[in-house]
Symmetry: C2
Subunit: 236 residues, 2 copies
Amino acid sequence: MALKTLSAKAAAALDKDLMSTGAFSIDQLMELAGLSVSQVVYRVHPLNKGRRILVAVGPGNNGGDGLVAARHLRHYGYQPSIYYPKRSKKELYQRLAKQLEDLDVPFVDDFPTALQSADHVVDAIFGFSFSGEVREPFPPVIQAMAESKIPVTSVDAPSSWDIEEGPPKSGVGSNFHPDVLVSLTAPKPLVKHFKGRHFIGGRFVTPGITQKYDFDVPAYEGIDQIVEVGPEGLKL
Amino acid sequence: MALKTLSAKAAAALDKDLMSTGAFSIDQLMELAGLSVSQVVYRVHPLNKGRRILVAVGPGNNGGDGLVAARHLRHYGYQPSIYYPKRSKKELYQRLAKQLEDLDVPFVDDFPTALQSADHVVDAIFGFSFSGEVREPFPPVIQAMAESKIPVTSVDAPSSWDIEEGPPKSGVGSNFHPDVLVSLTAPKPLVKHFKGRHFIGGRFVTPGITQKYDFDVPAYEGIDQIVEVGPEGLKL
């Protein structure tokens, strides 16, 4: 049974609902989203497979999820480093970056070089609100991830992919196929083009939300904030 | 080796540091504290021991941790109910309560009656900022927990206990000995009077904080947000 997917428009409306009628703050949601991402990395890339996690952080909410994930990974015993070339001026993002600085997590300027000494990459550049062209300085970053053999975990969407249509037909991202995808709250239509390990994260969705947007909360186990559902959203 | 403890005054200063120089928001800290509490309940009282968790919520931050814990417990598959007689007017607390209402978590008015059909109780009435006398309507609530055979998990402090001196010599709380204690960030001096299962939670403390306040972060395992340290803070 394929999991139902949420269009980019529906995902944006759902986020808005969570923060209005749902009464969640963005701090709360981002903390839980980033925690989910960190749990996926721990699951697919345990500490004994190498501790050096390079996190590519975009300018928006997807990037914020990456910053939170990096903090949790640091507490788990990993050695994350952060590529964050377009820093948001919003207070929340500045605080998330400060929390990493206080843990002595390094911020790096040169992604391709940093990639050479990474064991795993988290792609938190663009999420469900991405559309159109990848802007500088991210094209070579996505290119480097596409060409590298270092495994990549993408947050909510492989960056550069169209949320509905999947990988671009040509140009930046057309050859980018991350190994792992964490869909936050629900998969987006692009998952039908994704062939790697697929997880759902974000264990905070209410029955009211799932009914309104017509999807099911997957069967999380125990205290897990994530659940693996397999490629293309097929339940394992 | 006994874990070092944090006085009430130091705990208050540490919290202030986390939210100023540490750049955490109270939403974030409360989410992680409540998540820790929920993981302790899952550990000491797994689903097959009974799903009915009664959460006694006080008017301040300790109560907020309880509200967050209840939400996570609901997502884990428990059936929490909330006793919350002195509702905070602060927006954060109103939002945390709304998040529970959206999950159809019931709010109950009569604690002793609710206790009769509970499998486990979370005491989130007072935390490290408590001192002096227990005010209405909480004396009979603490009395009921003290006299009941239903196991109790206290958040940061057994409510009514003096943070430095432990249980009151007489009156309300003098016979209150909860089964489980979750110390948030670090144990308080009262732990030397506590004989039950003792956990540390709140996996967000930085080296700068532990150095300033002269305590050690315990050895958390894997992605756990909690670690059991045994009675009196002795490491297991």
